[in-house]
Amino acid sequence: MTVIEVAGLRKAYGKRVAVRDVSFTVEESEIFGLLGPNGAGKTTTVECVAGLRVPDGGRVRVFGHDPRRERTAVTARLGVQLQASEVQPNLRVREALRLYASFYPDPADPDELLELLGLTGQADVRFAKLSGGQRQRLSIALALIGRPTVAILDELTTGLDPAARRDTWELITAVRERGVTILLVTHFMAEAERLCDRVAVIDAGQVVACDSPAALTARLDAGQRIRFVPSEPVDERELAGLPGVESASRHGEEILVVGAGETLSVLVTHLAHRGVLAHRLRVEQPSLDDAYLALTAHASSRSTS
């Protein structure tokens, strides 16, 4: 079932077009990522989904409702964690959760959420005294307090240290296991690769690709990159002539061979035949990082030409 539908979304601030043409759908129980460089239009897109901004064009539906005109139907089931949204500075953590719990018809237990987010020790601390990571976790808790069916999480691990980021990822996975659909905005590839079932890559206000992280990576033509140090000198030109190998080059004592999927077995067979051992052998697969860079570089060169 489709829970969020965005079609042909367009939004400009004065003359600056933030979102040119964005379309995607988020299905029930998935973690859907919006990926893109800063200023690509990700936040504007989710703000339109959350009903905070009026789109200039296109269609936004959450549970089939217009998030601005049918506000009550959407807000009760949509939890939103936004960038730079604070809480009253002198409000204590537990008080904030209880206040927001009173807004919803069937809220989660504030103390249980505090436990889940590791904020039990800060329950009586005022918002102004919380660290960045604790504020971020409270923000996530407030997005979940109404037992939403869908949660929008915007840049939720930005500014967190690596350990806190890892904890947050585990938390998101736990939240999904409760059946919550998640729309995740991020510019961290590792986060998208680890958490998302599907991602839409947005660049310059447009969706340039939308698929699973694995499929996006597989789309890259770039094959394997194999590095090794031969036990005896080998001629790299000879390696370059092997079937499937695109190029072979020497970098100091190390040899780099680039080629299609079968390159590794061809290379190893060849070296074995010669009686040469490959020391410190490393095979690099293209990552979502590479796919993302290729996609966004492609889009920006297209838009400037």
Partner: protein, 255 residues
């Protein structure tokens, strides 16, 4: 304090907002000092010192306490509705608190309503306390009491209107505080805080007549003299309330 926070899930979100915002007001030392402690201390001092309790020729036969009591009562609405309220609301907008509320089933206008309710109730309660203290010190109740209550209600509406305009125009908490001070001293001056209206030169008193607290002071004076307040003074107050209300409604932004 936390023990008083019994959660009431899914019910009375507005009541929860009022309770939490009242709690937060109690935690802001400056707000408590300027709205409650200082004016109450002023009334107690004026009432306790025999020299200020008795009629004086320099105040047209009134005691200094009788002269300043109405100004202090109007001051309450100026302080809460036109100073604290805009700073809090502009700060909440600046910090994205109103934006966060916009994503919940409770619209941010409820927070504005809760704030206005708390401040007006607080000012009213403090005014009643000050009046009670003054009466206890021998100040007679205003001869035209109904007119007096109506005047204060209009003063409250005018101050709320001005406060909402400031909240709409100020980009943030600091700007709202600065704007609050810009209106604070002139309004109090024309209300007769430093020179009683009866001793103002004609030009100043004419200007004072068209300022909200000057008009308020004029109407209060009428009530003290036992007359129904001048229609012009009441109209000035009502005009401030309506015009400011319209401007605020057009210019106010939630994010």
């Amino acid at each position: 304090m936390t023990s008083s926070l019994v959660p009431s899930p899914g019910r009375h979100p507005f009541r929860e907002l009022v309770r939490v915002e009242a709690l937060l007001f109690g935690r802001s030392a400056a707000g408590v000092v300027w709205t409650a402690l200082i004016p109450l201390a002023a009334v107690v001092v004026l009432g306790a010192v025999p020299a200020t309790r008795h009629p004086s020729d320099s105040f047209d036969g009134r005691s200094p306490l009788e002269t300043w009591l109405p100004v202090l009562m109007m001051y309450e609405f100026l302080m809460t509705a036109a100073n604290l309220l805009p700073a809090v609301l502009a700060g909440y907008r600046e910090r994205g608190i109103l934006r966060r509320l916009s994503t919940t089933p409770v619209p941010p206008s409820r927070l504005l309503g809760a704030q206005a309710l708390i401040y007006l109730a607080l000012a009213t309660a403090l005014d009643a306390t000050m009046l009670a203290i003054a009466v206890g010190c021998g100040v007679p109740l205003p001869g035209q009491f109904a007119g007096f209550v109506l005047t204060l209600a209009l003063v409250a509406a005018a101050m709320l209107g001005i406060g909402l305009v400031l909240a709409a125009l100020a980009p943030g908490e600091k700007a709202a505080n600065a704007l609050g001070l810009v209106v604070f001293f002139p309004l109090l001056f024309f209300a007769g805080m430093w020179i009683p209206r009866s001793r103002m030169p004609h030009v100043l008193r004419d200007i004072s007549d068209v300022t909200p607290l000057g008009a308020g002071a004029r109407a209060v004076q009428d009530c003290l003299d036992g007359r129904w307040p001048a229609a012009a003074a009441l109209l000035v107050l009502a005009a401030y309330a309506v015009v400011c209300g319209v401007v605020a409604a057009r210019r106010f932004r939630w994010q």
